[in-house]
């Protein structure tokens, strides 16, 4: 089983829900990769593969770009 976790950060802070994603993936004992628009520094300890998009270029709030990036991630 492979899970894609889509984490979110806002103003340099990871949203609460994103922590729960990590916990959920751990509980399911599944292989997971994470997608995040933001800085790596905001992440807690995470062992999976991380696809990180740059805030400056992707923007904190930009549904169209984010959607495309996520689809790209899924393709990989």
């Amino acid at each position: 089983m492979k899970i894609l976790l889509i984490a979110e950060s806002r103003e340099g802070k990871l949203l609460g829900g994103s922590y729960e994603l990590v916990a959920f993936a751990t509980k399911m004992n599944a292989e997971s990769v994470m997608f995040l628009v933001g800085e790596e520094s905001v992440l807690p300890k995470y062992n999976g593969k991380l696809y990180l998009a740059d805030v400056k270029s992707a923007g904190e709030y930009n549904p169209e770009v984010h959607k495309q990036l996520i689809l790209d991630t899924v393709a990989k």
Binding site: R10, L15, G16, Y61
Partner: protein
């Protein structure tokens, strides 16, 4: 301008709910029915937009048995121009993808400039239908909108985000808007409008003609949340209460182990 408002008839949340025999939905007995709260904001916004641009035609759509026509009449009395009733006695069992599919099929080729839906229904609360409709019709969507403004084809909306943050979104119509509490105060229909509503077009279409997608999820079970034990209030003087607390912590938790 053509506007579509999608509404749902839901039980009043003050009703006494029981799980039905199948265990996958609530029983329909002893329930009072009304328009989904968020859909009321959708209807109100559609009517306000119509009043603003003058030349507009608002269609209200609802899926369900004949009983939902009562709720549609309220939307017509609030100012919608015509009703499209998708007759489906089993609508309550349909999942969001099917519902969105039915609506998208209805809306296809009708070139609606704006589609308003509630941000979620009060009974199923999936919050997916509006957004799925937009994807199916290849339209942009703005969800959980708390403020809506329209000017010459441009929609300026404020969305509610977590933590009290709001986002301003600008988009060109056509667009799907899902409406959240705070967007407006739905009007109370006036008597002349209630009377006019009785004469407005309210067409019924069989759901079979519009349901072209297959369900992707099914409800396995619905149940009441387990009753969690209530809090215990400790009484007595401070020393006594401290003793009681230590005893509870020892007996019931591992904190002091």
């Amino acid at each position: 301008m053509k506007i579509l408002v999608c509404i749902k008839q839901v039980p009043d949340m003050e009703s006494k709910f029981k799980v039905d025999a199948g265990g996958t939905w609530y029983a329909r007995t002893d329930l009072a029915w009304r328009m989904n709260e968020y859909d009321e904001y959708a209807v109100e916004q559609a009517v306000q937009l119509k009043e603003q641009v003058k030349d507009a035609d608002v269609t209200v759509l609802c899926i369900g048995s004949d009983q939902v026509k009562e709720t549609m009449k309220k939307a017509l009395a609030m100012g919608c121009d015509r009703g499209a009733h998708i007759a489906d006695d089993a609508a309550f069992g349909k999942e969001p993808f099917e519902i969105a599919g039915i609506i998208a099929e209805f809306a296809k080729g009708k070139s609606f400039d704006l589609i308003f839906t509630g941000m979620q229904s009060q009974d199923r609360a999936s919050g997916q239908v509006g957004v799925l409709i937009a994807e199916m019709l290849d339209m942009p969507s703005i969800s959980t909108v708390v403020h809506f403004a329209y000017d010459n084809g441009t929609v300026l909306a404020k969305r509610e985000l977590e933590g009290g943050v709001k986002a301003c979104v600008k988009v060109q119509a056509p667009v799907v808007i899902t409406c959240q509490l705070g967007m407006n105060t739905p009007r109370y229909p006036t008597l002349p409008n209630i009377m006019k509503a009785k004469k407005k077009e309210l067409l019924s279409l069989p759901v079979q003609d519009l349901l072209k997608v297959a369900a992707r999820q099914q409800t396995a079970k619905i149940y009441f949340p387990e009753k969690k034990g209530g809090g215990t209030v400790l009484e007595g003087d401070v020393a006594e209460m401290a003793d009681k607390l230590i005893r509870i912590l020892k007996e019931k938790t591992g904190v002091l182990a």
